[in-house]
């Protein structure tokens, strides 16, 4: 059974540009959809990774480690 999918519209010239790259990929990407999905997944993944923030306690622990080495 396939994943649930929804349609997203992109400009035709962009579609053509991607299609050229798909052809150049020597079979790595089967079609435009696969290429677009790969790029979007990469970007979403990075966004998720960037959300991390340190707590004040963690920040203090980091400074403590630096002081412990005589760096500060």
């Amino acid at each position: 059974m396939g994943e649930d999918k929804v349609a997203v519209y992109i400009p035709k010239d962009l579609y053509e540009e991607i299609k050229k790259r798909v052809d150049l990929s020597g079979g790595e990407f089967k079609n435009v959809e696969e290429y677009v999905e790969f790029v979007l997944r990469e970007i979403v993944k990075e966004e998720e990774e960037e959300e991390f923030e340190y707590t004040p306690e963690e920040e203090e622990k980091i400074k403590e480690r630096l002081r412990g080495l005589g760096y500060l």
């Binding site: 990469e42 990075e46 963690e58 622990k61 760096y71």
Partner: protein, 529 residues
């Protein structure tokens, strides 16, 4: 799904990161280091240029990304906010450039990365990642590998080293050796558990820790040898593994070198003395305040003494009985009368540190931005003219870094204006103010960073390497990628050490190129935060 491409490679690569490993120290200890000896006989061991400043944070970030500090932005451990607050600059995780093992993962190569400094928390990788110093706590991806670390008794580092070294140097060194041995064991165990790994990349921090304390002291070899021996044992085991399992390459890389320190330049004391900064307290009052906070000792009297002869006498007694100057960390920028302070220094104690002009980027500025160039010029001239005694220059160079180190793209950090680089055997301390601006090194910091680390390579493919006499930390990431037939991404500043004419051409190369382009495009489109 096209998450990765399966590339069949005959290579396994073990990249051993050794924080602070130094070429000249290795040469001196070589007869007693079997692994390094083997590398010298069968491969190459040479110096490695580090970054400016020569700090672990920015050098490791450059090793991982192949990008200069001025571009990746992690130029120190801490930065200054416009409220003069000292803030952590964050970890490599937040940088816009990917680390080389993430790129390898995108091409299907599996890595085991243990203790990479400035990586926290552990993020998703194709393989295993154990966060590195100065992680506030241990972080592992995937978390199921944490069991192995608990079993071997893994520790990030030995805490509170400065104080421990002073009280019990031999015990502290032994503890560091234990931590390093466990780290090596953990790396092999994790690799075994993962299976089919392509890159093993542990980072040892023991050489940095022991050299800070030991270099420049009598009998330094005894302690330093222990540090290099632990690493050497790991190298010997790694060479055996590569020989037994497969054809493979072994690399050694350090983030910076080390040098013995004869003198410490108290840069903020100098700024006060030359009228660029004004203390909130008189020297006498600040001394009394210091005595109240820290107690009266020969150390505090020594650093506080104005009279040359008294300072010299107390210094001799201090060095003889107490082992050096006092602890640092008592000074903060708020101890200055900010409206009357044109410039101040901050950052990590090292042979290169930063000066900020207190202009209208700051809350209590003393000068408008439009007039700062005049102050900068005066400062550069004065800094380059500082002499220790009558002849020796303390400062080797002053670099205008405005617009270069732009506060790591973090809106709460202000870009420094000048970078001061000390001459050999001096370090720069912005955390202490005294009437003298040149003092003996502290008990802990008898050794400090230098600009030449070490690079080594051995294995059947080493003859495909070139230019290793001129290599720098920026060249490591492109080299590792090239070993796996991945082209150097266009955003990297480093140059691969592999001769392009000899680089194996994979039938998948074209499709690999396309993937690199995708990542590149994505990065160009990501605005700096």
């Amino acid at each position: 799904m096209v998450d990765c491409i399966v590339v069949v490679s005959y290579l396994k690569v073990i990249l051993v990161g050794v924080d602070g490993a130094t070429y000249w120290v290795i040469r001196e200890l070589l007869p007693r280091l079997k692994g390094f000896n083997k590398l010298t006989e069968e491969g190459v061991v040479c110096g490695l240029r580090t970054t400016l400043p020569p700090l672990s944070s920015c050098a490791w970030a450059s090793i991982y990304t192949g990008v200069r500090p001025s571009r990746h932005g992690l130029f120190d451990f801490v930065g200054i906010g416009n409220d003069y607050g000292v803030h952590g600059m964050g970890f490599v995780n937040a940088l816009r450039y990917p680390v080389f093992w993430s790129l390898l993962g995108k091409f299907g190569f599996r890595s085991v990365v243990v203790n990479p400094p400035m990586i926290y928390p552990a993020f998703k990788v194709n393989g295993v990642l154990v966060s590195g110093w100065p992680s506030p706590k241990l972080s592992v991806y995937p978390s199921r590998f944490g069991k192995i670390l608990r079993e071997v008794g893994y520790r990030i580092d030995v805490d509170g080293l400065e104080g421990r070294f002073r009280k019990d140097p031999d015990g502290t060194v032994d503890d560091l050796v234990e931590v390093a041995k466990v780290r090596g064991e953990a790396c092999f165990r994790l690799s075994e558990e993962l299976g089919n790994w392509d890159l093993m990349f542990p980072v040892f921090t023991i050489c940095d820790r022991i050299q800070h304390f030991a270099l420049g002291r009598n009998g330094w070899r005894k302690w330093v040898l222990k540090a290099y021996r632990v690493v050497d044992e790991f190298i010997q085991r790694a060479l055996r593994l590569l020989r037994d399992e497969d054809e493979g390459l072994l690399f050694i890389v350090s983030d910076h070198g080390f040098q013995p320190i004869r003198k410490t330049f108290l840069v903020n004391s100098w700024l006060v003395k030359k009228g660029f900064a004004k203390l909130r307290y008189s020297h006498f009052r600040s001394l009394i305040r210091e005595y109240i906070v820290n107690g009266i000792s020969l150390r505090t009297i020594y650093w506080g003494a104005s009279h040359k002869r008294l300072a010299s006498l107390v210094g001799k007694i201090n060095n003889l009985f107490l082992g050096g100057a006092p602890k640092r960390g008592r000074f903060s920028i708020n101890d200055f009368v900010l409206r009357k302070t044109l410039a101040f220094a901050s950052g990590t104690i090292s042979p290169a540190t930063f000066i900020w002009i207190n202009d209208d980027r700051f809350r209590y500025f003393a000068i408008k931005r439009s007039k700062k160039n005049l102050v900068k010029e005066k400062l550069i001239d004065a800094l380059l003219d500082i002499k220790d005694g009558s002849k020796e220059n303390i400062v080797r160079d002053v670099v205008d870094v405005e617009n270069l180190y732009d506060g790591n793209g973090q809106s709460n950090l202000v870009s420094p204006d000048l970078m001061v680089i000390a001459n050999n055997e001096y370090t720069i301390d912005p955390w202490y103010v005294s009437s003298s601006y040149v003092v003996s090194p502290s008990v802990y910091r008898h050794g400090d960073h230098s600009f030449e680390g070490v690079f080594a390579a051995a294995g059947p493919s080493v003859n495909r390497l070139r230019n290793f006499d001129f290599c720098g930390v920026l060249d490591i990431a492109p080299t590792i990628l090239n070993l796996f037939n991945i082209d150097t991404p266009p955003w990297m500043d480093g140059i691969s050490l592999i001769d392009p004419d000899l680089l194996l051409k994979s039938r998948l190369k074209n499709s690999l190129k396309i993937k690199v382009k995708i990542i590149e495009r994505k990065m160009r489109g990501t605005s700096r935060k």
